[in-house]
Symmetry: C2
């Protein structure tokens, strides 16, 4: 199948690679062409604009940065939906505003094609190992059609409801991560402040009713002072911002998320926008240090 | 060995039972004698006061309610340490103030005996299955002496440091649970408010980087509206209060824990002091409902 791919960053590069391995013809566009070179070397075909991709393929995937980038790629000049493309399905795998997913869906229908929102979780490792969780919104019949391609990129693939439902599910994931992370970081800052061996603490509390992926995987990074790798703080702030906006619009109060998001704003202000989410520990540390 | 046991509530009753199964002679006291009957029927010997227990045994365990109860049992009239007892080691397994554990330790030393603080996690199920995590503070040599008895009650047994270190470790556990629970409940209240199937959401987000014991075990209870069982809200409020006090005294700021504790105060005010901790969902629900 002729598959379009827009966005060859850390996630998209690995994901598109799996489609090449799956025997598909890949047509690719990225704002920075250099980041697509590795795919071109493996036979992917370069296109000069998002619309060119849409015009050359049967189905098209996007995974890019901010909601504003998604808007540009879909609705801008030479955007995917700037006029009627050749492809019959567009799938946005970016974590973005559910309202934007619905806008893409409406415009797609207008032009006679179908769309899905399909954000992922699992990070760079999940992208590389093709073990991503993929949360999908849109028409179920379209979902069923695309599932074989999703299977090349992910393991846990879920249909969650109409347009935007994939994004809302990703927001649930991020809200859960936010709470867990404040628990992880406050627990370890308490341990440090009260003179406990933090490695031993993680070993104890990481097993029972307090256990989580975060305490067992990010806790040890905090103990070792490793803040460079992981999901970027600035991306997490964006996601939490979307969740707070959506929740507010729906009349849902999320006091915990609001607090955590503000603490992450502090983490970014301290110069850690491109650190991993475990850098929340540093903001809490700064709170309790003499200045 | 002649072992004393004070406190035959949900936890203590099961734990003392394992010691009987282990072939030990158990001397028991509880404020409400009826709750000890099942142990007496299995051969445990009743004592009329905490001091009587201490006077009849080689080593003594306590697991009771509030810090004030612990104070009464150790320091009150006919308390364990009201004069020199026969036993050579006292072990408090209650989750209590680390300062109280240190006070017990000082008084014990004064009277020529040893003490450990050894709070547990794992709940009623862990107590029943003898699979508790046990976090121990005190002298390491004393810990090593008591380990064979701990092994009858728990699986993950950890020496954490001097007097109070067991309690501090339990506080780390509770701080981590508090954060995780706000994440779980806000995630599911968002899912409900935005029209997602919460069961499906748990299935998706319960597997990857957002996964935790809480989302996978308490999340489904929330979906089913089951708030009756689990760790009592009022006990959790007590524990979080201790952690906040200790942290404050050590100059450690825990904004997330403070918020969660206050939300749990609301849960209790709503009449759910004896519900499970997943009842936090109800306070968040009340926040977003028309009144």
């Amino acid at each position: 199948m002729k598959i379009g791919w827009i966005g060859t960053g850390v996630m998209g590069f690995s994901m598109a690679g799996h489609l090449i391995d799956g025997g598909h013809d890949i047509y690719v566009f990225n704002r920075t062409k250099e980041k697509a070179e590795g795919l071109l070397a493996r036979g992917a075909i370069w296109c000069d604009s998002p619309f060119d991709v849409a015009f050359s393929t049967d189905i098209l995937f996007t995974i890019i940065g901010l909601p504003s980038d998604v808007e540009e790629v879909y609705f801008g000049e030479k955007g995917i939906l700037s006029s009627r493309p050749a492809c019959s399905i567009v799938v946005d795998m970016t974590t973005t505003r559910p309202g934007l997913s619905r806008a893409i869906s409406r415009k797609a229908v207008e032009l006679g094609l179908e769309s899905l929102d399909a954000p992922v979780s699992g990070g760079d490792i999940g992208a590389r190992d093709a073990s991503l969780a993929i949360m999908v919104g849109g028409k179920e019949s379209v979902f069923n059609e695309v599932v074989p391609i999703f299977r090349l990129m992910g393991k846990n693939i879920f249909y969650m409801g109409g347009p935007g439902a994939g994004q809302h599910t990703k927001m649930c994931n991020q809200i859960l991560v936010a709470g867990t992370m404040i628990g992880v970081c406050e627990s370890l800052i308490y341990a440090a402040g009260l003179g406990l061996d933090r490695e031993a603490v993680i070993e104890v509390i990481g097993k029972g009713a307090a256990s989580s992926w975060s305490i067992n995987n990010l806790g040890p990074r905090i103990v070792r002072g490793e803040y460079d790798t992981g999901f970027f703080v600035e991306h997490f702030i964006k996601d939490m911002g979307i969740a707070l906006e959506e929740a507010s619009a729906a009349g849902v109060s999320l006091p915990g998320l609001a607090l955590v998001q503000q603490l992450y704003v502090a983490v970014k202000a301290q110069g850690h926008g491109r650190s991993g989410t475990q850098a929340l520990y540093l903001a809490l540390k700064a709170l309790s240090e003499k200045s």
